[in-house]
């Protein structure tokens, strides 16, 4: 764990102080405060608090709107993960075939990671725009279906899912390319010798070997989609139409910051905390797995 070379009574404390101070002040104290708030009923300006036990949680669990936001979050996170992890695996597998130009292809596929999901959302908002967008325009030749995200919830969801998945691509491709390049050539040669075609080679050899990375990326994309996707919702749909894209994080912000319902937002924070702890635990199973491979 450590090397322990130097001795000093005060220096190590001074060295960890900045990080620990930020951690305590802006992470632990607020998290504990959220835990506390979740058990209280608080007046909108925070001047009056009364202990109500689990009432805030009970209210949330009985609230169809909250239930809807949970479902939306899972649809959103699931859609983003499926689209971006699946798409990245295919592209990374293509780019790591024995062909020229791997690094050029990688560069040409990595850059979407730099685009914030809010900016991506704005670009896709225009592509999906009911009046000026090219997607509804081209679809109008094929079908009479009114492709208008302002009216149809699922289209709004598809819009934010596509925009978010787009920004995740670069990240996933970086990991898959690293993982695919690490597969020993001898393993693939053996498959060649056995006469396996490219598709067969991928499904029966390559995919099982990158499955730990896939698992890790699935969890990580879920975490991103759950906790870092406030921007795309706020910039594009604001949770609408109706509550069709109201995800948990956006509802928390709306109820807490705009609705000033501090008790409920505290309870929502605690539920999200449980979720992120669960997902982080899952993520560490990947780390364990990787250790046993070495």
């Amino acid at each position: 764990m450590q090397r322990t070379v130097f001795r000093s009574r005060w220096l190590p404390y001074l060295l960890v102080f900045p990080q620990v101070a930020v951690t305590v002040l802006f992470f632990f104290w607020p998290a504990l405060k959220s835990l506390q708030l979740s058990l209280y009923r608080v007046s909108p300006f925070g001047d009056h608090m009364s202990f109500v036990g689990f009432e805030n949680f009970a209210k949330l669990l009985g609230d169809p709107e909250y239930y809807q936001s949970v479902v939306n979050s899972f649809v959103f996170a699931g859609g983003v993960t499926l689209l971006s992890v699946g798409g990245s695996l295919v592209m990374a597998a293509l780019a790591t075939q024995k062909i020229r130009g791997l690094s050029a292809y990688r560069t040409l596929l990595l850059w979407p990671y730099g685009i914030s999901s809010a900016v991506a959302g704005i670009i896709f908002l225009f592509i999906f725009h009911p009046t000026y967008g090219i997607l509804p325009y081209f679809l109008s030749f094929i079908t009479d279906y009114e492709f208008n995200w302002l009216l149809k919830g699922w289209i709004a969801m598809a819009l934010v899912v596509t925009a978010t998945a787009w920004t995740h691509l670069g990240y996933n491709i970086a990991f898959f390319v690293a993982g695919l390049l690490a597969i020993p050539g001898a393993v693939l040669e053996a498959a060649d010798v056995d006469g396996a075609g490219p598709l067969r080679r991928f499904t029966s050899i390559v995919f099982p070997l990158v499955s730990p990375i896939t698992f890790y990326l699935v969890v990580l994309n879920m975490v991103f989609a759950f906790f870092e996707s406030f921007g795309v919702i706020d910039a594009v749909t604001k949770g609408g139409p109706g509550d069709a894209t109201m995800i948990m994080v956006y509802k928390l912000y709306k109820d807490g910051f705009i609705g000033l319902n501090l008790g409920s937002s505290g309870a929502q924070s605690v539920i999200l905390m449980a979720l992120v702890i669960g997902l982080t635990m899952l993520q560490f199973r990947y780390v364990e797995k990787k250790v046993t491979y070495r």
Partner: protein, 298 residues
């Protein structure tokens, strides 16, 4: 066995037909298909960016024309100038730049120092500090939203640069990366430095720091992008136009009602300006970017 020797042996074995030639070269048509598929993928991935650029070069008539015009026009400069003026882009880009650089540098500095303390010193509470830093991984902004805002308010940090940056500075991943890196440095280096009479801080700055530049560059790229693209925290903590970052400020340009002019060319010009710095950082520092991404997640 030397590399040359191994190569010769391999050739000899191939000639003798003892084993199959190393990895048959795929047929030409096979690699043509792979190239074609890759180009198709890149076209799909790049299309939204290309289209945003195309729109940012058109005037309003061209933006709304049917069928849509899918190639650039000649209004690039006037659109970018107009977006720059209308949305106070200069100020917003400056704020984003301050945020990206300060958050990245801050995270790197405090993580380097705490990893150094944790690896090279034995002190009471060492493991407590380590676990506290670790647990921040499980506390993203949304789960402590209202109370973090309250703390910043108590400190008088609402609408300030310190409020924008310092609350985001704790970094478990950067701390782990430095810790892991220090663990790979042989103990003898520290012992030798000690024999030469170097104290811990001199050891850190003269021995560890020069060895750490690759890690620092890699982390900087990833963390700069993280800081630049923050959305939820800046929208809470800033409340004047002068403090807005570009990622949150763009939204104000979107025409929401039917009565506004559909100035999508200006929005796309703004979007291009907002995404260009982080995308350029990825493209020009690709090696560091990949290293930073892949290694900081171990």
């Amino acid at each position: 066995m030397s590399a040359v020797g191994a190569g010769q042996l391999e050739q000899a074995r191939v000639r003798a037909g003892a084993v199959a030639a190393p990895r048959k070269k795929p047929f030409l048509w096979q690699s043509v298909i792979v190239h074609a598929l890759l180009v198709a993928c890149i076209a799909v991935v790049a299309f939204p960016l290309y289209y945003a650029f195309v729109i940012s070069t058109q005037d309003i008539q061209e933006v709304v024309q049917r069928p849509p015009r899918l190639y650039p026009s000649s209004h690039l400069l006037e659109n970018y100038a107009e977006a720059w003026r209308k949305a106070h882009m200069g100020r917003m880009l400056f704020n984003s730049f301050v945020m990206g650089v300060t958050v990245a540098v801050g995270k790197i500095v405090i993580s380097m120092l705490s990893a150094f303390a944790i690896v090279y010193f034995d002190f009471r509470g060492r493991m407590v500090c380590f676990w506290m830093i670790f647990v921040t991984l499980m506390l993203p902004v949304p789960v402590r939203l209202m109370s973090t805002y309250e703390v910043a308010g108590t400190l008088g940090w609402i609408n300030t640069y310190q409020g924008l940056t310092i609350p985001l500075m704790a970094s478990a991943t950067a701390t782990f990366l430095f810790r892991q890196f220090y663990m790979t440095i042989p103990n003898e280096l520290a012992e030798a430095a000690q024999l030469d009479g170097a104290g811990p801080m001199r050891f850190l700055f003269q021995f560890l720091l020069p060895l750490s530049w690759a890690n620092i560059a890699a982390l900087f790229v990833v963390l700069f992008i993280f800081g630049w693209n923050q959305y939820l925290w800046p929208i809470l903590i800033t409340n004047t136009e002068a403090m807005r970052t570009v990622v949150i400020g763009l939204e104000a340009l979107i025409p929401r009602s039917g009565t506004e002019l559909p100035t999508w060319n200006l929005i796309m010009a703004g979007a291009m300006m907002a995404l260009l710095p982080p995308v350029a950082v990825i493209i020009f520092m690709q090696r560091w970017f990949v290293k930073g991404l892949v290694e900081s997640e171990k």
